[in-house]
Symmetry: C2
Subunit: 275 residues, 2 copies
């Protein structure tokens, strides 16, 4: 498998979040030939949704996703606040023409050990958001997070679990596949086949470092870790995925500290050599 | 579900590894009424296998396991060195009458990203060790480790994967179920049922802390984290497990620093209130 040319990459704004606004990310993608962008909602709101939508369109960038809706378990019930926030996320995703709204579903409720209860809240929240998203023409992508985030970020941790939910909820919902979260899973190949073209809605890349010094913010640049990215990308593509390869690197100890143009130049180089 | 009286607990020597030798662990278990022990091989060899076996027997302690065999991927091939070491582990498990030999199977080989290759090495190593273990009358227990250890410790990370291997290899091999590694898995209930009495060979307890500050050595005392231990223990027992509840806490930042008698007293208390 040959590497990725930059027009097949997308920049998740979290990768340079300490250095650049969304406007600067858009300009940076143009400067480096990166074909798409995926904003986080804080950056989007900071710029203003309409203004951002126009700037992205005028730059000719694709939008591989909007990060993120979800957090259905935060208050221990799927209440008005969480539903309203997810509806706003759907509206924002529609406004910028995002390929999907990425869902980080939430972990255990505060002071709770009730994991089955959390799974039920998540499914209820997804179902209610999906009704609204279908009307808005926005696709919902559950992002199974690595199991080390089950308690405090997302209690859906495998493609199998995510697809079980998708099977129950019907069309318009699928998965955001981030190699960092799923690379270890011996069921990954089978579950990507099960997901198929319509339900592999996003493909995120970065790398797993050995050792990993922090559970949240020590992700690696592609090629610096142990994930066989070409193999996983091949599995996604052979099952019909043809979207952009979104680069999302949480790296407080390394990449967040560097000059953002250096980060993007590295991404472009590693896209060609390590992906 | 009522809590655990100390005679239903077993002390994994890793829990007090910075403070006590195996001989001191044996005395400590007697002093606190703990019913069993599970030595790590370094502590066992330090004491001498025959002497340790005699001391454990005279103390009337059950042996819930021997930690550990495995590491089949270390050299990139299942060579003589790794097989010989695993055979010695089998011999040691037989000598102390361990309920099982716990297998930490190994992660990726050095400088490798070939995860399917690692899975194959692991299965080959287990199969070859199992032949020897059957003759020795020792049961082999695959310990699925948390997916955050897939790269550097064990590339079998779910009960499903472990049981798929067991299905292929036949009798005499099962699982060591450690709540720390498997609590997040939405398939756990189904896979414990699939495992059944004969293949749930060990049940390890500790807790998942939020936040977790280190990937390896920040496990919590039962009750200090988010794992619903009574529920998981209930699932193991309703599927036929009747062995001891082995306490294994890797805690460089907290419990390893404390007086070991204080640790054991806390374990006894938490067994009653949090398990």
């Amino acid at each position: 498998m040959s590497g990725l040319e930059p027009h097949r990459l997308s920049l998740n704004t979290a990768t340079v979040r300490e250095k650049w606004s969304l406007a600067e990310c858009i300009e940076g993608c143009l400067r480096h030939g990166i074909g798409g962008i995926s904003p986080w909602r804080d950056k989007l709101q900071e710029m203003g949704v309409d203004k951002a939508a126009r700037a992205i369109r005028e730059a000719g960038l694709a939008v591989s996703g909007l990060c993120r809706g979800g957090w259905f378990t935060a208050s221990g019930a799927v209440d008005r606040t969480v539903i309203d926030d997810n509806r706003r996320a759907v509206d924002e995703a529609a406004a910028i023409g995002a390929a999907c709204l990425v869902m980080v579903v939430g972990g255990l409720a505060k002071d709770s050990r009730d994991l089955p209860g959390a799974w039920a809240l998540v499914e209820e929240g997804l179902a209610r958001t999906l009704d609204y998203a279908r009307e808005a023409g926005v696709r919902i992508a559950i992002e199974p997070l690595h199991p080390m985030y089950a308690a405090d970020r997302a209690c859906v941790n495998t493609m199998r679990h995510a697809l079980d939910i998708c099977d129950r909820l019907g069309p318009g919902i699928g998965c955001a596949v981030d190699v960092y979260h799923v690379w270890w899973d011996n069921e990954l190949e089978a579950q990507l086949q099960r997901a198929g073209k319509d339900r592999i809605m996003a493909f995120h890349i970065c790398d797993w470092l050995v050792p990993t010094r922090d559970l949240l913010t020590d992700r690696g640049m592609m090629g610096d870790g142990v994930i066989d990215i070409p193999r996983l990308r091949g599995l996604a593509e052979s099952n019909g995925f043809s979207g952009l390869n979104e680069v999302e690197i949480f790296s407080a100890l390394d990449w967040w500290r560097r000059d953002a143009d250096e980060v993007l130049a590295t991404i472009v180089r590693r896209g060609r050599t390590a992906c």
